[in-house]
Symmetry: C2
Subunit: 334 residues, 2 copies
Amino acid sequence: MARLVDIAQAAGVSVGLVSRVLNEDPVARATPATRQRILKAASHLGYRPNYAARALKFSRTDTISLVVPDLTNAMFTELMRGVEDESGALGYTVLLGRSESLTNQDQISQLLDQGRVDGFLLQARDDESTQSLTALIGSSPVVLINGRLDTHPGSVMIDDRAASGTAIDYLLVRGHREIGLINGLRSSLTARLREEGYREALQRSGIRPVEAWITHLGYRALDAGPALAQIMQNDHRPSAVVVANVNAALGVLTKARELGLGVPEDLSVIAIHDAWTCDHTWPPLTTVRMPLYDLGARAVRTLHDRLRGSVGVDSVVDTVAPLVVERASVRSLS
Amino acid sequence: MARLVDIAQAAGVSVGLVSRVLNEDPVARATPATRQRILKAASHLGYRPNYAARALKFSRTDTISLVVPDLTNAMFTELMRGVEDESGALGYTVLLGRSESLTNQDQISQLLDQGRVDGFLLQARDDESTQSLTALIGSSPVVLINGRLDTHPGSVMIDDRAASGTAIDYLLVRGHREIGLINGLRSSLTARLREEGYREALQRSGIRPVEAWITHLGYRALDAGPALAQIMQNDHRPSAVVVANVNAALGVLTKARELGLGVPEDLSVIAIHDAWTCDHTWPPLTTVRMPLYDLGARAVRTLHDRLRGSVGVDSVVDTVAPLVVERASVRSLS
DNA sequence: TTGTACGCGTTATCAC
DNA sequence: GTGATAACGCGTACAA
């Protein structure tokens, strides 16, 4: 509402001076007296710099967009917090979006070209193909979350190998040797890494993975039911499954009940990622908690650096080790 | 990237003309030939109007903000879809936010004064007091979702009375006569209306509400456990409870298990609002589905009218009747 | 120390 | 039909 000119008038000085004082321009300091008059007038009139004018002047909005596949996935709460906290610290405003809503063509470059946002933090849907993703982001300032593109440096990931490795180790300690994996789509890098971690952890203990116990049907609850059914139709069944995602784990629990399988008596279940809802499933779901807050914060810093001119960098947030949140969906066989 | 002047140069005309042609200015039409040249140059250069410049010119951003208490509440998925669809149709961009993040002072007026958004769609936290809310929104263009302020016209609500009334009727038909209510905080208008609907529906059937079976501890899962415990410590227990919210219902299911109460054998549970997660609770949760999509769309239209100068209007979205989604948490007593 | 003037990209008003 | 120009609010180089 109040503009620079208004407070200049109120303080009896020129706009230029007001601008410099308010921006604490180090080169030209004003007389303490006028300085005070300006500050007082500014606070009195409740001055707020006009955003559009600044954006126009600097061709920069100090706004970044965080896009995730599903905002309602409680798993993302922590990620959002990390993003928002770090953004606040770095002076960015965060604009939230859902992957679905940027389905068509070049909505990213559109928002960029329009000068609505400076850059993106993007977690793609896991059924998004590499090539469509490549086309989508082009050379835009985009930091990929939980994804990576060889052609486009600039990404942050959790340690997916360690995630499933931790789950496996937890199960091994409790006597499980026959362990299945209900995984995301093969197109998803995250899913591939989790599978690697799964295989490696088993092999470290001299166990050979059973291919019939590994599915790649997706991260949604909807996908996980059929996945479990498929695994359980084998004559030889696993005593436990690692589910690559909390939502999928919900589907697993439901399907297990449908199949007359008790969890954890007949089947132990452990999921990667954690959410408060896991306290309220039946049985309460044991999970592997990953440092999503840090992931979000790191993503913001990575984008910030990129916007400052650095070349994009790929990194894995492994400063905090995966943590098993013990609830009641895993049984000890010993 | 490409500006008006670029395409003016490419087409060999002036910027003004380009602007008029691109905006389909009805008053001054250009020669078909030049018109074509301009259009061609524009599409060739991939012209996109600069957002900040427009905002500066019009002191209007065509951006509105939707703020809800908890983005991860699956209940809001539909609301968001309604908001986004209608916004798209009306030419607005939607900026998502969480109520928590606008805790302090005047963040609303700040965003408004900065010219970042034109107006707000706001669902307050239910523990937000009337006076702090009043202070928060002042005279800003804010449409309240599921809330109303006598001092500030401009709100949309679902038919909360009908919601609990529908739940009660469903239970009555199945032979329940002793029905509790696990409600939101008394400070929440929504909770008060749901309680009214609850009382009215019971009384219509000649049943006198039992005060000891009514709690007002909040909408969170966390709040609902104690609420159920409190109700169940009475000598005389209800055969069913209406829970005012899906999240709270999760807490109820968990607490019931803890108390050794079978659902629905010992206690029937029905929740207001619906979400996909209700398919994956145990037992699957029977709910009353409310027209949240329409609510979101109506909210946008209401704000749009307000921004166009209309006086704020309060309305109840009751075009679609509450719908019971039958799952398995209610038992028939007959 | 302080004031003036220009430009960011767009639209609108007024000439030609 | 079309072009020049002012204005939106801000920051800053330059002048005083």
